[in-house]
Amino acid sequence: MNIRFEQVSKQFSNHMAISDLNFTIQDGEFVCLLGPSGCGKTTTLMMLAGLYQPTKGNIYFGDQVINHLEPKDRNIGMVFQSYALYPHMTVRDNIAFPLKQQKVPKKIRYGRAEKTARLVRLENYLDRKPSQLSGGQQQRVALARALVKEPNLLLLDEPMSNLDARLKIEMRDELRQLQKQLKITTIMVTHDQEEAMAMADRIAILDRGEIQQFDTPEQLFAYPKNVFVARFLGNPPMNFLDAEIIHELDGMIVHGEGYHFYLQKQLHIPNKTKITLGIRPHDLQVVSERRGIFSAVVTNIEHLGREKLLSATMGEQPIRFFVSNDQKIKYGDRIYLSPNLEAIHIFSKETGENLLWSREVSYEQVEGKTGLI
């Protein structure tokens, strides 16, 4: 079942939560809605669940407009952030509750509840109350309750935010496998970019009620459409430096405070346009003074095990990069850095748009290729 948003807006009394949302989710896809708090991702999910109605536009399940369909008639399963387990019922009754509402006979509904419980490895806890379970088990009960009615669409509202880090990684894996196994269309809301990158087929990045970019994790990481996406994805975040573009024969010079370098690319923008230069920490390398483009003073060293994350300042501007463990760099050292010129991003200072990728290379192509949005 495809899910399509067509110019959907949602207005609450005093603010616009969602404005003009357009996207399509394919059957069996795992999609993450990712964004900072207040970006409208939960509102979007609530509209899919039928708990909110859109103010404008249409939401389609397949060919059917479902704007005003009751939640119970949508055949959806939902896992809430708080799990929302019924505290007075046993695990068995919790899982069977949606079936009980559909008037499924007792024997059949307990049979199906037990089968679903086995799917999420809860078969030994059926007679417990939710309060007697750990966080991870409670989450699995919530998942089983959502899955028991064999829904067409699974909605997950920040399902892992109450789990500890280790369990999170485990559940991430489990949930993903289950989703592939059941081939169920799944939409998950999260503010955790790592979680989204790890689990989703595609991620929709939202900010202030609008989709900034809707794409596969690889594309989002490699070709962010604007500064917001670039800043939001990636840990540690991308480095941003102020610069201006000076046209040259066959290319241009990126000129910033204390550095300048030649880039063999052409942009259709006026000479001396102010830009924001974006470089991921992984795309910076410590080099000799002669080959270095940036010169910086080390202000902090973090040991991450496999490598070291260094923070440094170039005049006023902070910059972060990775070095291998065997490189002997101390606090206060002056170092020289060279970026991977293939992987740098140039954003318009004014609009935040990615000037290198958004027009020429990636976005339309990617869209055209997959036929989405």
Binding site: A49, G50, L51, P71, K72, I76, G77, M78, F80, Q81, S82, A84, Y86, P87, H88, M89, F97, P98, K100, Q101, Q102, K129, S131, R145
Partner: protein, 295 residues
């Protein structure tokens, strides 16, 4: 040892007050129940004679019956009508402001002094054609005026006490309903639960504790309080709306049979304790305090 001195020092004034105003009367009443003290205020111990007198009292059976009817029906109103009000004002009214207004209206009788509240009802039940009920019935059915308090004294006292008592349960229940996580209702909606199922499977189990509390609390207060009846019918006509605590008041302070009145109230206290025990059993209190509640 020394660290306990200050806390006890702080508590002493209040412990003394409790001792003076709560414990002492209980002790005195208990002792008095075994005397035939009257207006002469003499402590003549007469053993169990007072209790024998209760059993052989010609009004005994009617008073027990009245008390039973009065406490039973008023308690029903106090709990179930309160629950209905709480549901209406907290679950079905999504806007907190309107719910609050609604609840405030129902709280008015509680914050009104009983005398004023009862005066209002006396006007409603007034036997002349100027009484509110009589005005209404004569307007709609052109009936002759009815002496409501003479013809239906039990109904009147149950109604008056039920209305004022329901506001207490309403406040307790509505705050309990509001403390149920909203996500549970959303989940129930997604799961396709009917309104009845939401009430039965989610709301009711979550407010079991407050329901028990309100039931026990109201039972005790109904068993021992009589001020509304005193003001409304004074137990009349004859003994038709006389209930046990009012009878003990009448005996003690009208007939000045202090010993007999004390014996009556002592029995009442014992009955109240027994009934509380029964209710706690009924609500499975022991199991309730063991299981964890919603975090």
């Amino acid at each position: 040892m020394k660290k306990w001195v200050l806390p006890y020092l702080m508590l002493t004034p209040f412990l003394l007050l409790v001792l003076l105003f709560f414990v002492t009367p209980v002790v005195i009443t208990t002792i008095m129940a075994f005397t035939n003290m009257d207006y002469s205020m003499e402590w003549n111990f007469i053993g169990l004679q007072n209790f024998e007198k209760i059993v052989s009292d010609p009004n005994f059976s009617q008073i027990v019956f009245n008390t039973f009817i009065y406490v039973g029906f008023t308690l029903l109103i106090n709990v179930f009508f309160a629950l209905l009000l709480a549901l209406l004002s907290s679950y079905y009214i999504p806007f907190e402001q309107s719910g609050l207004f609604f609840r405030a209206l129902w709280m008015l009788p509680r914050i009104t002094p009983p005398v004023v509240y009862v005066l209002l009802w006396l006007w409603i039940f007034d036997a002349s054609e100027y009484g509110l009920l009589n005005t209404l019935t004569s307007f709609f059915f052109s009936n002759d005026p009815i002496a409501w308090l003479i013809d239906h004294p039990m109904t009147a006292i149950i109604l008056v006490n039920g209305m004022v008592g329901a506001s207490f349960g309403m406040i307790i229940f509505s705050s309990a309903i509001q403390s149920i996580p909203r996500d549970l209702f959303k989940a129930a909606q997604v799961d396709g639960a009917s309104e009845w199922s939401v009430f039965k499977d989610i709301i009711l189990p979550s407010i079991k504790w407050p329901i028990m509390f309100v039931t026990v609390w109201q039972l005790l207060s109904l068993l021992t309080s009589y001020e509304y009846i005193l003001l409304l019918t004074d137990g009349g006509p004859v003994f038709e709306s006389e209930v046990w605590p009012l009878y003990s008041y009448h005996k003690a302070f009208k007939n000045l049979e202090f010993g007999y009145g004390s014996a009556l109230s002592l029995i009442l206290v014992i009955i109240a304790i027994l009934l509380t025990g029964v209710l706690l059993k009924l609500f499975k209190f022991n199991r309730m305090i063991q299981s964890s509640r919603i975090e």
